[in-house]
């Protein structure tokens, strides 16, 4: 399953991202609003689900080697976040669904935890 398939399935709107990344296979994900928690787990999941919409979500992804971010609950994403995501070559999308629903749907689609300690 490609990242594009995942976004389509979740009716997510793509805010930025290259075709190369959208056509890449995805197998793992992680979810969290607390960036320290994401950083502490030392993993590089294919997708990060988060409700945090600021530049630090992008920085955390960049530092952790995460290539795409899916913002949940349809939270508004400001331009500086999109701009930084472009700069850091990270795909950014937003869905109206909640973190719980998105996590469950992705698990059902076969995605598993991308964190080393799970």
């Amino acid at each position: 399953m490609t990242l594009r398939d995942v976004f389509t399935e979740l009716s997510a709107k793509i805010l930025c991202g290259s075709d190369e990344q959208l056509d890449a296979e995805v197998a793992t994900a992680a979810a969290g609003d607390l960036m320290s928690d994401i950083l502490a787990r030392l993993g590089s999941p294919d997708v990060l689900l988060t409700g945090l919409t600021n530049t630090q979500a992008v920085r955390t992804s960049s530092v952790s080697g995460i290539k795409s971010i899916l913002v949940v609950r349809g939270k508004p994403v400001n331009d500086s976040m999109i701009e930084l995501a472009r700069e850091e070559d990270i795909t950014l999308a937003v869905t109206e669904l909640s973190m719980f629903t998105v996590s469950g749907r992705l698990y059902a689609m076969g995605l598993r935890s991308g964190m080393d300690s799970d």
Binding site: L34, M35, L52, Q56, A57, S62, V63, G65, S80
Partner: protein, 321 residues
């Protein structure tokens, strides 16, 4: 020498015939006639083919042979009588630099390429194919980021000294949230270009980012100084205050001085310092209240026993819980 030129030269020494040759060459059989050969050449717009029998190259036939045959006005005959028998071949595992020398020395325009063991034909190499193949490999090898990585990763090799180390310094502005993390992300790129192992980069980037966030969120700004030496990478962050009253307490997981706005940024859960400690091989935190805080982080890059793997780190972490 210019880095691009150096990279191209190196490419010549890295590439093998098999990387550049055209696989599945058009061939002829020795029992086909010269008329058939003429038709094949016209159809495929080529000027010669290897002559193959039982998968083995028995000769080369070219446009020069055909011209000679036509000029002589002889009756049609089999290719086997006009071809150059037992021609020189290139092996697919030969380096391109050797193949090019062979072209130069012989003056031939094309070589059949055979497998070294089986001697079976696997492809063909002509001057045209070399140019085309080398250009496409170069275009790939010379992508800007790769050039940068190539250039940087050779710093330690190309500079001669008894002891080599690189210092990189970043200014961190206090309370500038939008730019917070910039030093750590650009440092991550630098380390990648320097050719540091991904595992080490990952750990250093996380430790550095957590430390940078602390400096932005809780201090009046400071300086991050990275030191890259062959056996370790270290980071020292000195801030301009206000300092930490109780270091013992600050080191405890879950303890946080964060105000609500810090938590809204996705930080301030009291996990920063324990996180840094987990990523680093050695960590040292010192603070003078009213003056400032200095954090030292060391990560060993050698494969020494001092280096903990990510796996061990997480096992330790879950035990601690």
């Amino acid at each position: 020498m210019d880095a691009k030129q150096a990279r191209i030269q190196e490419l010549l020494y890295e590439l093998k015939v098999t990387d550049v040759m055209r696989a599945g060459a058009i061939t002829t059989r020795p029992d086909q006639t010269m008329t058939e050969f003429r038709r094949i050449m016209r159809k495929h717009r080529i000027s010669g083919t290897p002559v193959v029998e039982n998968d083995l190259v028995v000769g080369m036939i070219t446009i020069a042979d055909l011209i000679e045959f036509l000029a002589a006005g002889e009756a049609d005959c089999q290719i086997r009588f006009k071809m150059t028998p037992n021609p020189e071949c290139l092996c697919s595992d030969q380096f391109m630099v050797h193949a090019i020398r062979q072209f130069d020395a012989s003056g031939y325009g094309r070589y059949p390429v055979v497998d070294r063991q089986s001697r079976k034909l696997v492809g063909i190499l002509t001057k045209g194919i070399i140019i085309e193949g080398m250009l496409s490999k170069m275009a790939h090898a010379l992508k800007e980021e790769e050039i940068r990585q190539y250039r940087a990763s050779h710093i330690f090799e190309d500079i001669n000294a008894e002891y080599k180390e690189l210092y990189l310094t970043y200014e961190v502005v206090g309370k500038d949230f939008d730019r917070a993390g910039q030093a750590s992300t650009s440092m991550k790129r630098n380390l990648k270009r320097l050719g540091i192992q991904p595992d080490i980069i990952h750990r250093l980037a996380i430790a550095s980012y957590e430390a940078e966030m602390n400096t932005v969120l809780y201090s009046d700004g400071g300086v991050m100084e990275f030191r890259i030496a062959p056996e370790e990478i270290s980071l020292r962050i000195r801030d301009h205050g206000p300092g930490i009253e109780d270091i013992e307490k600050a080191m405890q997981p879950g303890w946080s001085a964060a105000a609500d706005w810090v938590r809204e940024l996705g930080f301030g859960a009291g996990m920063g310092i324990p996180n840094i400690k987990k990523c680093a091989d050695k960590m040292d935190l010192q603070s003078i209240p009213g003056v400032g805080t200095t954090l030292n982080i060391r990560i060993f890059t050698g494969n020494s026993d001092q280096t903990k793997s990510v796996q061990e780190r997480n096992t330790q972490d879950s035990r601690a819980k």
